[in-house]
Structures are given as structure tokens and as C-alpha cells.
């Protein structure tokens, strides 16, 4: 005798009962993936097919060389990807180098001014990254470092969010670990190097993902800091260059450029899904 409603508790549900939910999710999922599907599809199509306005996804003729070739010929897209990697990596290194020790100190060490520093951290969380842009630009322009990797990396080296996050993380770490190290005779510096840094791995990787995604995708600051047709463009900027380059009508090539610059992070995401989601949403599961 089967009551109409299911017993609550998702173990028991049969495939049949689950189908409506799965069907709905599949339809929505397909809608969501449309941009990607079309992006790849059009990147493979020759111009005449694109302009035919057909709804077919599979190209009749493949124009891979034409589209992707055009991207590679007209803009140094490989260089842009490399720039993205360099900039993201550079930013991350500095962020960790600054935030990890600071987070630890604020979490575990007792010193006067700790509370004031933390107040500043909280204040910093209120300030979006776009706010310091103008004065930084002026300063970089005056000191002549615009259009360099330094200009792209420097402003993001301070991540108040990272400090906040590491502090939370280290606070959750048992004090005993550090007391034991002190009793074993380790000086403060050794403690940081030998105990804190190795144990910060989970928090560091989660943050790394968050940081890389944010900066790989950043358009605002590179747009400001890189001028002309700089060789220093990041992937986001590179796509913009390509757009203006070919006057926006060659959708095939345009989609090729879009695909090329999107693939790196999407691929990384698909390989390490859970880490990605943890990293990006850690923007305060503490609420």
C-alpha cells in the first residue's frame, strides 16, 4: 500500500519519483548552458553560416582554422593568457605573503594595538576595490610605472578579506599547538615557518582559488592600468582588444576569442569542482 506522498528523507526515492525534479533541473541546466554551447558552436562556423541565422548547432563546414587562426594572428592571445597567469600568480603570492602572517599574528599573538588593527581590517572590508582606483592611477602615472606588471599587481596585493579569513582560520586552530612549539624551544619566526604555514594549506588553497578567479576575470583595473594596445593585456582586456580590432562583426572569430579565454578557468573548475566552490563561497559562510 503506497501512500500518495513520499516518506520524507531522500534515500528512499525511486527514480520514477525523482524524474520531475531531474527533468526540471535538466531543462534549466540546458538553458543555462546555452551561451557556452552557442559560443563554441559559432566559433566553429564560417561567416556565411553565422549570418544565415540558423538554429543549428553543428556547423556544416568547419572553420576552425579561419576563426581561431584569426584570433591568434591579430592579437597575441597566447601572450594575454600568459599575462593573466603571471598577474594572478604574482597577486596571489603577495596576498598570501602579506595576509598569512598578519592573520596569524592577529589571531594568536597578544600585543597592544591588535584590536585597532582588526578594526582597520573590518573597515577595509567595506571598501570595494574600485574606490582607490583614481588616486592609484594618478600615483602610478606620476611615478611612470603604468603599463607594467607592477601596476597590474600592486593594488591587489593587499587583500583585507584574506587577512580576515586567515584570522578566522587561525583562531580555530588550537592554541596548544603553538604552546607546545614554544615549550619545544621554537622562536616566533620558526613557529610561523614550521608550524603555521604548513598548517594553513586548506585555507590557503581555498583563498587561492577565490583570488585567481577574481583577478583572471577582472576587467576594470587592467582597463585603466594598461594603455594603448599594450602587450600587457590580461585575458579580459585581450578580448576587448580583439572586439575593437575587428569591428565586432566577425562573430566566428569573436566567439573563438571568447572560447580561448574562458577555457582555462572552466577546465580548472571542472577538474577541481569542490575546491572551487569552497574557495569562492567562503566569502563568509560565517554569515
Amino acid at each position: 500500500m503506497n501512500p500518495g506522498s513520499q516518506m520524507p528523507g531522500s534515500h528512499d526515492r525511486s527514480l520514477a519519483a525523482d524524474l520531475p525534479r531531474l527533468a526540471l533541473l535538466s531543462v534549466l541546466g540546458l538553458l543555462f548552458l546555452m551561451p557556452y554551447i552557442w559560443m563554441v558552436s559559432v566559433s566553429l562556423k564560417p561567416l556565411d553560416e553565422v549570418w544565415r541565422a540558423s538554429m543549428s548547432l553543428i556547423p556544416e563546414t568547419f572553420a576552425i582554422e579561419r576563426n581561431y587562426g584569426r584570433v591568434f594572428r591579430e592579437v597575441p592571445i597566447g601572450r594575454y593568457l600568459l599575462n593573466g597567469a603571471i598577474v594572478c600568480f604574482g597577486i596571489l603570492v603577495f596576498q598570501l605573503a602579506f595576509a598569512l602572517p598578519a592573520g596569524y599574528a592577529m589571531a594568536k599573538l597578544n600585543f597592544r594595538g591588535r584590536e585597532t588593527l582588526f578594526a582597520f581590517v573590518m573597515l577595509g572590508l567595506l571598501i570595494p576595490a574600485h574606490v582607490p582606483a583614481i588616486p592609484l592611477y594618478i600615483a602610478f602615472a606620476q611615478t611612470g610605472i603604468l603599463n607594467t606588471y607592477a601596476a597590474l599587481i600592486a593594488p591587489s596585493t593587499i587583500s583585507v578579506f584574506a587577512i580576515f579569513m586567515f584570522r578566522q582560520f587561525f583562531r580555530a586552530m588550537p592554541d596548544e599547538l603553538i604552546h607546545a612549539a614554544r615549550m619545544d624551544g621554537l622562536g616566533e619566526w620558526s613557529i610561523v615557518w614550521r608550524i603555521i604555514v604548513p598548517n594553513a594549506w586548506p585555507a590557503a588553497t581555498a583563498f587561492a582559488i577565490f583570488s585567481v578567479v577574481a583577478h583572471w576575470n577582472d576587467l576594470f583595473w587592467p582597463l585603466i592600468a594598461v594603455s594603448g594596445k599594450g602587450e600587457l593585456a590580461t585575458p579580459a582586456l585581450g578580448v576587448i582588444y580583439f572586439r575593437t580590432e575587428e569591428a565586432g562583426d566577425d562573430f566566428g572569430a569573436l566567439m573563438a576569442a571568447a572560447t580561448i579565454t574562458t577555457i582555462p578557468l572552466v577546465a580548472a573548475f571542472l577538474l577541481a569542482q569542490r575546491r572551487f566552490i569552497e574557495g569562492i563561497t567562503m566569502t563568509g559562510l560565517k554569515g
Binding site: M1, P3, S5, M7, P8, H11, D12
Partner: protein, 392 residues
Amino acid sequence: MAGIVLDRIEKAFGETRVLKGVSLGFDAGAFVSLVGPSGCGKTTLLRIIAGLERADAGMVSIAGRDVTGLRAADRDVAMVFQNYALYPHMTVEQNMALPLVMRRLSAVERAPFLGRLVSGTGERRTAIKAEVAEAAKLLSIGHLMERRPGQLSGGQRQRVALGRAIVRHPKAFLMDEPLSNLDAALRHDMRRELVDLHKRVGVTTVYVTHDQAEAMTMSDRVAVMLGGNVLQFGSPREVYEQPATIEVAKFIGSPRINILPGEAGAEGRISVVGAATDAVAPRTTGKLDIGIRPEHLVIADDGLAIIVRHVEFLGSEVLVYARDTSGGDHLTVRLDPQAWERAASHETLTVAPQPGKLLAFDAAGNRVGLISTETAAQVQAHVPSRRVPRYV
């Protein structure tokens, strides 16, 4: 019998068979414990009785009604959870009122503003409030009505959970290790209170616990479970004195029963690790596992020789941890405090079982009935006896 009947309940999760055909039946108003180590299936069984899980096979009947196909909300049972499961966003009063609100007010009447417009809602809510107050009084939590669960202590939360269960006057209370999150002292007090509550309210109660002492002290009957089966279902006294299997004997009683290798020799005379005893296993020969509880061993002149490893003085009793000299098996002996001097100062002791307290188990783990040598002699001498002597 208008209590609870379970008939051949089976349940598997994927490949794992958690319940392998459990049948139990007891009267209305009984306090029954399901006790066993973790993984034995007791919680699953409770949830099947509640209607939170559906059995793969078998029947559940509550108060004479076959509820096998009904969902929990339709079974008129109440449940108390290990973690209390109180709604954190509701006050104590709202928590306790919810079961009544859900059952007596329709969806529209429950709605925040619209509800007030429907006539009759007001009276019903007042009635509910009164019933909640009554239950709260019974549990002495009347002064906590406006608080939220987050502001209460563990013991208070437990009472609110109980209150939520009582307020409905259900056909059965189902309790899933409700005391395990409390500290030891509180647990002891709550045990008494639960038993008192049960006496007063008189509702059939099924109580799941892994703590055999809890089960023994609170229940009318105890179901000892292991590996998805009920090994024995009987009164606390029965499972203690007449365990059906060696597993039951090992689970019930603290400190754990001593199991020693023994033998039924000629005419079934029992010897334990070589030492002769006064017990006979009728019509049995061969190897047996002999069980003797620590509290049933006394220091004697004649009996089993043991080497004392360690002695614990607990004030009310003395525990001797020893090894038997011949076989090397471990043994625990519980003695009166007066025996301390003797136990502490000797390296070896001789212990003997109190008469009639030996338990014997065959190779399959089932208990073998024992009788005293006297009775055996009488039987042998063809002394007419109407009744087959029960084991001693």
C-alpha cells in the same frame, strides 16, 4: 492487545541488511527499551515504528491499527530525538503548540494575518495554549514559555522536547537516546523523571538506548538487539538471569560477564578451565562457554585459582582484575569493600561461583540449561517429579 505489534520487519539500505526480520509485541502502556550496540538496527526500527522510514517487508500495528503504509504524520505517535530537534526560531510555547496547531488548524487558519480573520481560530488557539500550559506544568517548564531553545540548558531542552511529545496525547512515545547528550548526573535524574512521567501519563513508550543500565532501570521489558535481530525480549530480570544467548549475557550487566572455556564431562558435569563445579548440563557433553558474572564470584577455599593483576577500590565495592592460572583468561571479580585487604595483599586468590549462578552456552552461542548436581542425582535416582526441574 492494543499496544504495538511488529511482524517480521525487514530493512536494507543498499547492500546492507539492517533489520533481518524483527517481530515484537507488547501491550499498551508498556515501557519497552530497544537496547544494543551501535549498528544493531535499534534506531532504524524506531524510525520504522514512527513512520519516518518504510520497512522493506513486515507489518507495524499501533493501538490495534495497521499503520504500515501510513506516513509519520498520520500515525498519532510522538518522538523525542537525541538532539531534541526543537525549532530554534520558535519559543518554547510555540514549539510545544506546533503539533496541535498543525492538526487542528487548516493552512489558511495558520497563515499569519489571514488566520485571524477566519472565525473560530481564536478559540482554538486559546484551547491549544491551555493544553500547552498544562503539559508545561507537568514538566515544570511553565516559566520558560517565552524563551527560545538557544537560551535553554540541555536538561530544559529535553523537557521541552518531552512537552512537545506529551501535549498531543499520542498513542505512543518513541524516544531515540534522549538522554545521551546530558551529563552523567543529569542523566540519572532524568531517568527517574522519565519513569515517573511514564507512570503518570501511561502512554506506550519505546525507548532506544545503547546504555544497558538505562534500559534495565527504566523498562518493563527489554529487547536486546544485535546485527539486525532481536536476541531476546523479556523483563530486565529475565535478560539478566536467563540470557538467551551469549551475546545477550555479554551485553547486559556491568562489569561485563566473565566468559571462560569449560566443558561438560561425564554425565554432563561442568568443569571450568579444569576446575570442577556443582553444575550439570543434562544430556550434554563437549566444550561449552561458561559465563559467570563478576558479582557472582566469591573468595573461597576451593575453586578457580587466579592471579591478581589489578585491584580497584570504589568505596562501595572492590573490583579485582585477574587472570586465571591455567588458561590465562581474563577475569573480573566484584567483591564487598571488606575484601579489599585480602585482595590487595595477595597475588593469587581462589574464587568460586555462587551456587546456581553459572551460565553455559553452546558452540552456537545459545544458552544451555544447567541444574545442580543434587537435582541431577535425584533425577538419576528416578525420583518421581511432575515438573521437569528448571535450571538452577
